[in-house]
């Protein structure tokens, strides 16, 4: 995180000098500059065409091979049918509601899990004894396959929304705690000495040094956590649920509606990409907001 910031910082400085340099060498280098720009444009166009071609080739091939019978459309479905099933589900079915259900439990689990984990990790700063006692348990919790706890959670919290959110929470809380603890352990002891020499109480050392110092560590856990939270929600729905995209996939599987399974898979990947993108925006906002400059 910090390294990226530094890079952008360094990159920004020479950029400021550019106009002056360009003015000086405008006459001699204009052709070259034009060439560079032209090449970059051409490369961009090539990349875009290439990507479109690959996509067309993949989906077109898929469509074609299932139509001419080289691939069994019973198992593989085909893009056109997936699209039409998706349309039917969107307009007449429960797909929108399912998407809201799954993303709701994911986001709630992600936020509560990350916050709780971060607070837990930060709390280890207060007492070395407490931190050392907790360490093996955190490691065990991290190693524990939380998804395997799914059935227990469903029994404990019912088949509703809550058990999915709890599973998403469990998936994220430990990674977040470990990241925050990593940040806490790396705090420069000289900074703590400085704060004490300025008459700071422990509470002030914590809020003014430990928390901001650990922020990059906490933020770095966000990207992993959003994917983990989504996995938790989906598995929760797999086990037993009345709504959600995960439930839709399991349901479609049991009635052998392969088209609908594929719809579910694509919806989940789009959901996952959107959430990842959202987290990237959140990261950017947080970093800017906290003015975390490379240290």
């Amino acid at each position: 995180m910090a390294a990226i910031n530094q890079e952008t910082c360094c990159a920004a400085r020479p950029a400021k000098r550019k106009p002056a340099e360009q003015a000086n060498e405008k006459t001699t280098r204009s052709l070259e500059a034009y060439d560079g720009e032209f090449q970059e444009k051409r490369r961009k166009r090539h990349v875009l065409t290439g990507r479109i071609l690959v996509a067309v080739f993949l989906f077109g091939g898929w469509e074609l091979f299932t139509r001419i019978g080289w691939m069994d459309s019973y198992y593989w479905s085909c893009p056109s049918r997936i699209l039409s099933t998706a349309w039917v589900q969107l307009t007449r079915g429960t797909l929108l509601r399912d998407i809201a259900y799954t993303s709701g439990s994911t986001v709630i689990g992600f936020i509560t899990g990350t916050l709780t984990g971060a607070l837990l990790g930060l709390s280890f700063w207060w007492s070395k004894t407490y931190a050392r006692i907790s360490e093996p348990f955190i490691i065990i919790l991290n190693a524990l396959p939380k998804l395997a706890l799914g059935p227990v959670l469903v029994i404990l919290f019912g088949i509703g929304f809550f058990s999915k959110a709890v599973l998403a929470f469990l998936m994220t809380v430990v990674t977040s705690a470990i990241s925050a603890y990593g940040g806490v352990k790396s705090v420069d002891p000289a900074l703590e000495t400085l704060m004490v020499s300025l008459g700071a109480k422990r509470r002030q050392v914590f809020s003014k040094v430990v928390v901001p110092w650990s922020m990059p560590w906490i933020i770095s856990s966000l990207r992993i956590n959003i994917a983990l939270a989504l996995a938790g929600s989906i598995v929760g729905e797999f086990i037993s649920s009345e709504q959600g995209v995960g439930r839709m996939i399991i349901y479609a599987g049991t009635i052998l509606d392969i088209n609908l399974v594929w719809v579910g898979v694509f919806v989940l990947s789009i959901l996952s990409m959107l959430m990842y993108w959202g987290v990237l925006l959140l990261e950017k906002w947080l970093s800017k907001r906290l003015a975390i400059i490379s240290s």
Binding site: C9, T193, L198, A291, I293
Partner: protein
């Protein structure tokens, strides 16, 4: 001299336990500095200068002895002196201004008041226009200025400076020394300054305390009779050279007879 001393260190020693063995870092250290004086502590590395500073700053308890300011013991009372550590230790996520007012902020002074006090200081002492910069955008000298202003704004009568210019190049060092002397003259603080550099010690101080190798104690106290304000030309006068030579001898001999001029 009969004038009362601002800060007095009497019989302070410090023994650390490492791997089951007692290591004596400081042995029976006595020193006293009068109000408004500039005193340097000079000695070989590892002679316990930083340990002494940590004790005076109230961060470490001494094994024996006492430290008093105006006659009152300050053992283990953190925050009674301004302490500037070797590294600048500016918080990288705070602007220079917010770093400088850190001490006031900890004491609970409202931000607007703190800023009101900090800005004129920044303007006067060479940090004008840097208030909204972040520490990583500043040079080493500028960062040390900011760190020193932070200590200054913390507003204690005594300032401990632990090799603040150790990491700077020679030229920046000289300008920083003059800058520090200017601040000292303007504010009349009592300064204790640790350094390895004999030139720096003589140039800056009224009194130089020479420390012996570990276990450290004050081996000699040298008075520097050069008039103030001092200029860089003073660095090459015969009297300066004489003092420097004397200090060099004391440091290299290690066991040279103690000289007490008080």
């Amino acid at each position: 001299m009969s004038k009362p001393c601002k800060i007095e260190v009497t019989g302070v020693s410090k023994i650390f336990r490492r791997n089951g063995k007692d290591v004596e870092a400081l042995a029976q250290t006595n020193l006293a500095v009068q109000e408004g004086h500039f005193a340097c502590i000079i000695g070989p590395s590892g002679c316990g200068k930083s340990t002494l500073f940590n004790i005076i700053a109230g961060l470490l308890p001494p094994t024996t002895g006492d430290v008093t300011i105006d006659g009152k013991s300050i053992v283990c009372k953190a925050g009674t002196v301004g302490y500037m550590l070797q590294k600048d230790l500016l918080l990288p996520w705070r602007t220079i201004l917010d770093n400088i007012i850190l001490g006031l902020e900890i004491r609970g002074v409202p931000r607007s008041q703190a800023v009101e006090r900090a800005l004129p200081l920044m303007e006067k002492y060479g940090l004008k226009g840097f208030d909204s910069h972040y520490p990583n955008e500043l040079s080493g000298g500028m960062r040390q200025r900011a760190a020193l202003l932070r200590t200054l704004l913390y507003d204690r009568d005594i300032m401990l400076l632990d090799e603040p210019f150790g990491a700077l190049d020679a030229q920046t060092r000289l300008s920083m020394q003059n800058w520090l002397l200017e601040i000292w003259r303007d504010f009349g603080k009592t300064i204790l300054f640790v350094t390895h550099d004999i030139d720096e010690a003589v140039y800056l101080s009224d009194d130089v305390f020479v420390f012996s190798p570990r276990p450290g104690h004050v081996q000699a106290k040298i008075h520097v009779p050069i008039e103030r304000p001092r200029q860089s030309e003073d660095l090459t006068t015969p009297r300066f050279m004489e003092l420097k030579h004397h200090l060099l001898e004391l440091l290299s001999a290690g066991q040279a007879p103690a000289e007490e001029i008080c």
